[in-house]
Homo-oligomer: 373 residues x 2
């Protein structure tokens, strides 16, 4: 149960476009937000971050809150996304990890053996205090704009843990999956519980929705996803099931497993919404995930640097194809590229908000738009 | 027309397992080779390369030939793959590019504007002399074992040219595709002709098959692939159409465009074989590319470091699923990882060669194998 003072309980956000769309309603105006809207593309963010390492910023409640609020003020998006990182909870559980600029998360030592997994620490509830405080501050400022909490899915976290840093195709992690399935399963359960606790803390502190990021899921075969990854993703999501917040499940290059991501491989309760990257036309994605799911996405981030006429045609095409879903939360197909001109993002928000409920553009999804040939 | 002294014309390789399988026959023993078999995983390669930069090695005919032959001698594979790199022809056309160890191809200056494309040089036929000489030497040693020539597809080359180096999701290249389609088209035509000339030189000098690598095709939507990439891939492949050698088309994360890769988007003659990475079960890939195509792949490179029993079960599963195709060239789903134990590769060759024509394992492809749940 959520506290009575939670924004979803006390009437602040339950009627917001985002929450309504995630729950399957189609509001009169489409909701829109951007993955990675809080961060790199904003000059006010770069200014605030001078002299502060990424993970230190994530653990400074005042700073994390201010960074979360910046894009909401600037762009007028329909949601804040909590400024943090998927490795924050593993750091709070004692893993030696830093985020190296231009590279990504790098670990002091990779986790590759049964003994390495045994040695992983616990995430004590009190360690999450900076998260709780940052979320509470942010929600206090956001008013009727919902905050989305998030966490990394166990596979994506394990890809960093086993490799020791970013990697192409996550070969060492996928080797462990097959070479030592018992250790693999324990590692992913550990990651699921750490991510789940991180997500639950955000929701209890006031987040009105929860997104699980399985960024690297596209490196898996469907059999590996369903058999060796999805059970652990279900475990992570299970940490917030009883709270009743809408849940979004996102991956990159996930076309082959999109239906399985909707049902979390059948291992737990299905999610409310599925994030779709830019590879798959949104009407095709709707067919894969079915009518019982909201879709989120799928503006191609590469289009943000194209001339406005090209970008506008693409956004209209995405919205038109999204008109075939029960509801559509407009977003990018992946994070905002760092070099994005933020005025373009504001203009996209204005455009999306001018398109009504998104079904007036020819909802059969057969428009060609600029993404076609 | 191939010269009368070409290995495919004079009887040396036309009856080889590889060439027969690519042409649609199913030889009594399955052919097997490994992408990146020539190179990083072999101690004899690392020894030879000491003190020589990658692209210098590619352009030294004696060295390139010896490196090409090493894995054929060691593993008993059914084909040599010419030791080179997809950026070799762009270097020979005057582009300032080096291969930085641990990173990949890095350009002196990226190619981002119409003027940059105008300034690209020509690949003069005489510049290809080191390639021709290396291939001729190699083929002279290989006897009845066919050599596979290869080149990078225009999109994958353009991804390096526009980004200036390796990149995630190739955002700048994909922006150019939409922001300036005319310049994009000219750049890809240039890349197609440079790659095509490189491929043709290898075939004329004695290669018995030609593979086009579109490694980064998985970052594209299907509409972008068919409309803005495949026409140029067809142009590259068109450089060897009249020579009549079998042609293989390979990409990574290519499940959504596999059928289009088989037909090259309908823009030219279809290829003989389609390479399949590890994400898609091979019987599913066969359904997508149809009965008129040979498939190549799709052992998961991550399995090479798993215990032998796990790897063996996986190879048997791949072969069983490949039994549904007209023919199957066994290979990895991507290149040999550098840290691979080469004795494992030799053992995989022995295993594959013990499995007969690959249809005796239950060709309905419904075996679960170790890749299943």
């Amino acid at each position: 149960m959520l506290p009575a003072t939670h924004p979803l309980s006390d009437g602040r956000t339950a009627g917001s476009r985002l929450v309504r769309a995630l729950r399957g309603d189609r509001p009169e105006t489409l909701p829109v937000w951007f993955m990675r809207q809080a961060g790199r593309s904003l000059p006010e963010y770069r200014e605030l971050r001078v002299g502060t390492a990424m993970l230190d910023a994530c653990l400074d409640p005042a700073l994390a809150s201010e960074i979360t609020l910046q894009p909401v003020r600037r762009h007028g998006v329909d949601a804040g996304i909590f400024f943090s990182d998927i490795v924050v909870p593993i750091k709070l559980a004692g893993v030696d990890v830093e985020i190296v600029p231009g590279r990504g998360p790098v670990l002091g030592a990779p986790v590759r053996s049964a003994a390495d997994v045994d040695a992983l620490g616990r995430l004590e509830p009190e360690a999450l205090a900076p998260i709780t405080e940052a979320v509470a501050r942010t929600v206090g400022e956001l008013g009727s704009t919902p905050l989305i909490g998030f966490a990394g899915a166990p596979f994506t976290l394990a890809a960093y843990l086993v490799e020791g840093g970013p990697s192409k195709d996550h070969i060492r992690a996928r080797t462990m999956m097959h070479a030592d399935p018992e250790t693999w399963s324990r590692l992913l359960d550990w990651a699921a519980d750490v991510s789940g606790a991180f997500l639950r803390a955000q929701v209890l502190a006031g987040a009105s929705a929860a997104q699980l990021f399985d960024s690297w899921v596209g490196s898996l075969s469907r059999a590996d996803y369903v058999g060796r990854v999805a059970p652990h993703s279900a475990r992570a999501l299970g940490h917030v099931t009883d709270l009743g917040v809408p849940r979004i499940h996102f991956g990159v290059g996930s076309g082959e497993v999109l239906a399985d991501m909707a049902t979390v491989g059948g291992h737990g309760d299905a999610v409310d919404a599925v994030g779709v990257d830019w590879r798959l036309p949104l009407d095709e994605a709707v067919q894969r995930v079915g009518a019982a799911r909201t879709v989120q996405g799928n503006i191609d981030p590469a289009m943000l640097a194209a001339p406005w006429a090209v970008l506008e045609a693409h956004v209209r095409d995405v919205v038109r194809r999204g008109g075939t879903a029960r509801a559509h939360v407009v977003n990018l197909g992946h994070g905002v590229p760092p070099e994005t001109d933020p005025t373009v993002l504001t203009r996209v928000v204005e455009l999306v908000h001018s398109l009504g409920d998104g079904t007036g553009l020819g909802g059969t999804g057969l428009g060609t738009g600029s993404a076609g040939a």
